[in-house]
Symmetry: C2
Subunit: 209 residues, 2 copies
């Protein structure tokens, strides 16, 4: 059994997808040990409490720098003996203290098929706005390990989603969540918890045997 911490800032729909799959028996090897939010009113904290998961509120204003925040977060997660960190809409930049302490043990979900529409400035609705502006016909979502770059870490899973003729950034965002994000993230946690993810030369090999 591995101990999972989910980091959130807002509504926590990806967190809910994980909690739902845990409740459904899909994640027997993963224990949701902690949910941390940098925002006090993040609704995801309520979702965690409803599922009986311990929560912590760690606001950035208590710290002088991003590095100090990252050190405090790292210390909290080490104290809680966390094995896997899941970024589920966490709006604080993860820096060296976290990335080094949890190398290939932090996963993030990005709402595009990396390397399309990713990197600095591509977050939330902006990703979908840019995809529609470029006129792509297929987009999707990517779960990846977090390294020191932005969206540059080893890719774990990807799923394609078709763009429809009348899509708006909002309709596309919702469909990418429903068809890709809410499926990929629990699947990635399951694979990690079962020891099926192996990183070699920055490429993730998924053991499906």
């Amino acid at each position: 059994m591995i101990r999972v911490c989910v980091l959130i800032s807002g509504g926590g729909t990806n967190l809910q997808a994980l909690l739902d799959q845990k409740a459904a028996g899909f994640l027997p090897e993963a224990e949701f040990a902690l949910v941390v939010s940098n925002r006090k009113k993040a609704y995801g904290l309520e979702r965690a409490k409803a599922a009986g998961v311990k929560t912590a509120y760690l606001p950035t204003v208590r710290f002088d720098s991003n590095e100090a925040y990252n050190e405090a977060l790292r210390d909290l997660l080490l104290e809680e003996k966390i094995d896997l960190v899941v970024l589920a809409g966490f709006l604080v930049v993860l820096g060296a203290p976290m990335v080094e302490a949890f190398k290939n043990r932090i996963i993030n979900i990005h709402p595009s098929l990396i390397p399309s529409f990713c990197g600095d400035g591509f977050y939330g609705l902006k990703v979908h706005e840019q995809a529609l502006k470029r006129g792509v016909k297929v987009t999707g979502a990517t779960v990846h390990f977090v390294d020191s770059g932005t969206d540059t870490g080893p890719i774990i899973l990807q799923k394609a989603v078709d763009i429809l003729p009348d899509d708006t950034p909002e309709s596309l965002q919702l469909r990418v969540m429903q068809q890709a994000e809410w499926k990929l993230l629990p699947e990635a946690v399951k694979l990690f918890s079962e020891g099926r993810l192996h990183v070699k030369d920055q490429v993730v090999q998924v053991d499906r045997s």
Copy 2:
């Protein structure tokens, strides 16, 4: 009925996919009027002849510059009253004379989901090598109109293809052809021939009514 010219340099498997769909009755509004190769021994020329399609051999060595080649190609295609130009593995760079004479009437197929793995230096096997090196789990193919940039024109159709654990650049190239390229290219020619492609603000709207 529109008159289509296919430009090739080699084996012409994408040309064959078009000819097969024409023979099967899938492209009633498209007449394959001409196949042009810059290489005399391109096997695609044999495929064209076998299907009763007129061929032309236009080698680059006859011309002083890429621009002069493009002017000669343009004049040939205008003389043949070509409505649509299809690039099917044509290894000569299309320049201003062609692009301006056939604006939004030249289509190309690229073996990735643009904007991933495209632009200068990304052609043939190199595209698939880079996709595997980055460790993406989903790739695909894109049919797009050709503009003055490299792979920057309006996207017509895209199709995703899963990457498999044991893929090599060669196995991936073949599967992308089979699952995506050979389907997308005839579909794009069909849509064009039926007047169903409309370009607005560099985005292609596909009329499927």
